[in-house]
Amino acid sequence: MFEELSLHILDIAMNSLAAGARTAQITVAEHARRDRLTIRIQDDGCGMDEATLKRVLAAPVSTKRHRKKAIGLGLALLRQTAEMCGGEFHVRSAPGAGTTVTATMQLSHVDRPPLGDLNATILALCAANPAVDVQLHYLGDTERFHFSSLERAEKKVASRPNPFWSGEEKTNYEPGRTQKVERESAAAGCLA
């Protein structure tokens, strides 16, 4: 069991690098109003076929592991953490189409591990393979930013007043919409 969510992220993203990803996108969305924490690790690596995916998602395999057979354990640990904290866990993958791992948690859940040192996680990933574009999209209630180790998508989004306090209705965070919104805003940045 990992004591920090950022360690889970490092563990899962290391698999992305092993899958030959060129880009690994890490999204951390804290939504206090909906009491939800969403973590997504999305890569454009080799992906998994259905059989492999099924095997990987089966209950934690034996801890008696041989070299290179950590298959299953990292995901199983994250799933355990997510489900323990009133959340859900999904993996979407297809051969050649990359893999997306999403875990949600109840933000205020008493068992929810802290995010921990995300910086150290990013540093470790950059050092692991500098050719991979490691992106971090942090979407908090008051602060948002996008980091890219290869500067393809880096930008800081102006912090907005917390709608929780101002009473203003806030667009719900929709998984899957992140990228599109970013591209639009990136394009807007180019035009400006």
């Binding site: 990992f2 910086n119 996680t121 990013i122 540093l123 470790a124 050092a127 500098p130 980091f147």
Partner: protein, 123 residues
């Protein structure tokens, strides 16, 4: 955590890239599989990068690998010398990592009490 901090980290990582292309004397390989991460490999690696930078060692590159089959003695770090000699250090923490940088990587003296396994002489 904020964007500025992350940018500084990126610079640190980029210096590492430059090292990979230049002349190097030592290569440090940190085991960063699930077991390594759970045992604290991330902090060990971060400490080593900080310490290498602090001491201005420009002939050391730091890399990361997956499971190395030493799950019970993680965190594990392997130091490879340009000549081919390899030393494996196990059960590390931040303090021990600093010691390895100071003794082995800076002065070229192995830290015998932290090393495990048989010495592998270059073939």
């Amino acid at each position: 955590m904020n964007l500025e901090e992350l940018k500084k980290l990126k610079e640190k990582a980029q210096r590492q890239v430059a090292l990979r292309e230049g002349n190097r004397k030592y290569r440090v390989v940190v085991s960063m599989g699930t077991s390594g991460i759970a045992a604290g490999a991330r902090e060990v690696m971060k400490t080593m990068l900080d310490e290498i930078e602090k001491r201005g060692l420009d002939d050391v590159e730091v890399r990361v690998t997956g499971e190395v089959g030493l799950e019970d003695v993680e965190p594990v770090v392997r130091v490879e010398e340009a000549g081919g000699e390899k030393t494996t250090y196990a059960r590390l923490d931040a303090e021990k990592a600093k010691k390895i940088v100071a003794e082995h990587l800076e002065r070229g003296k192995k830290v015998d009490n932290l090393a495990v396994g048989k010495e592998k002489k270059p073939e």
